[in-house]
Symmetry: C2
């Protein structure tokens, strides 16, 4: 097979005509398919319906120690939930706070607290002329929205197959004390699916930041979200590595059950050093009398322990794996060797990161939209929504059914081809 670059103008025009007729045909189907967000599908939500049965009016709603989960109190969460979320985060329960339903909310609040009241005694960031964050790209749009909301300047750092380019991270962090943090999704990264290498984690733990209040914002959103039983990524535990490196307070680790139980009704957690936990609790003590402990108890009774979580995640994998494979197979069959796209084959997480020819991402997303297939906005994987090369597209295969996905992927591939041909014709 020839790559598109090797085709003559005439061949490209012939191909374009053929593809356009296919595209018009699909367009007439008036599809409404959504590959834009990492939303679990209905059958995934159904996996946790049993969670609605573990508590009822005949069940004692007390913790093992006798505290009534229905009442006020226990700011940091019930002990059983601290243990469960600690086990999942690979840290001791005493280094954990369990929150409400959204780890994004915990991240927002953590940065909001730094803005108004500083980090472990530092000057509130709102009092500083300039605050900057490092943003490995492509990355998670909602992270970037948080830092943008607070007026924090974002600096792109390239993501390599091993994680962020640590040469750049080390240099910037060591020399610029206005850099206060870095966003990371260390495992099955959003959107690339890569996991940080041991060397990357160790280099993170050994950072020597110029800013006393620099922290790594380690969003371990996909820690147990494998697609394959026999090929799972394992990453080093960052809090432990930081401790070993003499940097115990360097990292905040965020987790949630949003993609384990119900996306909108899970529980979230922060894991960190004792000093960081104490600092977070100072805010929390003023902010709330405590989070929903009944839902914490519900999660503990349903998931039971880390092993229960792992077993539960296998069921998610059985649903997600064929979806990922459907999309990846279509990409491979249709685009391999054409010289117009590249992508990674993730072993877990929720996304496929797709790179088109430079300058084509936005046009491809628009084109797919014409035929009723909604993709994540091009640029969303970059701070300020600006992909400097306009090449990256995030594909989220979880929400449609496998049958819908096959159609959506066909539309996407057609869009990629058509936009690429236009790009090559107009070169």
């Amino acid at each position: 097979m020839k790559s598109y670059q090797e085709l003559s103008q005439e061949e490209l025009l012939d191909l374009k005509a053929d593809l356009e007729s296919k595209f018009e045909k699909i367009k007439r189907q008036e599809l409404h398919l959504d590959m834009s967000r990492g939303k679990p599908a209905k059958c995934q939500r159904d996996l946790s319906n049993g969670m609605m049965d573990v508590l009822n009016s005949t069940v004692n709603m007390r913790t093992d120690a006798g505290l009534d989960c229905r009442n006020y109190g226990l700011l940091e969460g019930i002990p059983e939930a601290l243990k469960l979320m600690g086990d999942m985060a690979e840290v001791d329960a005493k280094n954990v706070i369990v929150y409400g339903n959204s780890s994004l909310n915990v991240m927002f609040d953590t940065i909001s607290r730094a803005m108004t009241n500083g980090v472990c005694g530092s000057t509130p960031w709102s009092k500083l002329d300039k605050v900057k964050f490092l943003c490995p790209v492509p990355g998670y749009d909602r992270h970037f929205s948080i830092t943008e909301y607070f007026g924090i300047e974002m600096i792109n750092v390239p993501l390599l197959p091993t994680g962020p380019d640590m040469d750049i991270v080390e240099k910037l962090v060591a020399t610029d004390d206005t850099i206060k943090g870095i966003w990371c999704v260390p495992k099955y990264q959003n959107p690339t699916g890569i996991s940080f290498s041991d060397e990357t984690v160790r280099r993170f733990a050994n950072l020597k930041p110029a800013a006393f209040d620099f922290r790594i914002y380690w969003d371990n959103a996909y820690s147990v979200h494998h697609l394959y039983e026999d090929a799972q990524d394992v990453i080093l535990e960052i809090i432990d590595e930081c401790k070993k490196a003499g940097n115990p307070d360097l990292v905040y680790k965020f987790s949630s059950t949003s993609k384990i139980t119900f996306p909108g009704s899970g529980i979230a957690s922060l894991a960190a050093s004792k000093a960081n936990i104490e600092d977070a609790k100072k805010q929390m003590f003023v902010q709330t009398i405590g989070h929903d402990k009944v839902n914490q108890l519900r999660h503990v009774k349903f998931l039971k322990d880390l092993n229960g979580i792992k077993e539960h995640m296998k069921k998610h994998a059985d649903i997600l794996r064929p979806k990922f494979e459907t999309v990846l197979n279509i990409l491979e069959n249709e685009l391999d060797g054409l010289g117009i796209a590249s992508w990674l084959r993730p072993k877990g997480g929720y996304f496929i990161s797709f790179d088109a020819l430079d300058g084509c991402a936005k046009a491809i997303v628009d084109k797919a939209g014409e035929a009723g297939v909604i993709m994540t906005c091009a640029g969303a994987t970059y701070p300020y929504g600006k992909d400097p090369c306009d090449s990256n597209i995030r594909i989220a295969p979880s929400f449609p059914t496998p049958k819908e996905l096959a159609v959506a992927a066909e539309v996407f591939v057609l869009s990629v081809k058509l936009v690429s041909i236009d790009k090559l014709l107009n070169k």
Copy 2:
């Protein structure tokens, strides 16, 4: 009966000896009784156990419009919950956002947002040299903790039987543009139990603040929390009054079901003008993908509608009323006419506000503590924990059983008498 002021030194000493022997006797019982916080008792929590049965794995967890409550989405809450909380707040559902389990958290976030990003386009408060809040006193300690946390200067405003002293409020608000807000609990106020008069509400609605971003923080925590069926306070609806007065954006109204269903696992809401709601949602959109909609659905299915809430609240009243009466009767029988104390008889809410002789509150709370009865810290009802007269004590009768309460009230009364005698002896 003579007042203590009329007793001779000798009579006081005799009385003291008698009371001290009673006190020592009670002390030997090694009591552990808590009248410190407005925590609903176990039998009150049990009233909502049925809420645990309305959802189970066989129940469709969709809204009437078909949205799956288990999934991400619907930032502002499910329509059914917006209606329910809107009805309770006496506003249209379109003026409501439903949040997670804590209205305190909503208030904290509202002020945090003002600090970092301003109010409807105003300068972020963190960029200003000085920000002040008016605090009607005595008031709710957790309100004061929020403003203190953000470094906002608090100014005491006396609370009259009709509400805050509006002459002072109007004057300060009109002349000082660093005053950005006022804390209010307009109905069955915490701790006094008074409700704002119609004139007070109208004067609030007609305020002419010097600061464009001044808001009234209207914490309607006890809107349906009556003790008596035939003697209920009714207050004017503030959002409507503000609109009539040409000040539609002047107020944020907060509510929650914390003292309706489960204290730790309720739902909270903000009601406000369209402009204020839009402003709040701008932050919320970045802060979270949405709050726990399954718990919103659970509340709707359990409480059904405003009438359901009212019926449910009668059951709470039946539990709380005898507790309030137990304490109030003991206060009346033991302290009336002695000239050493005054208190109000509330018709709703969670507290009895007690005023001792100046300089005695802290000593009384300490004294009661000696005998194992925990009261709210003296001073807690004032900003910075500083009651300038050291006279106010908040009594929270909800948590102990009626039997325990009778004992706790006896201890309290003995402590009041003993400390007052000491004060009079040392005058």
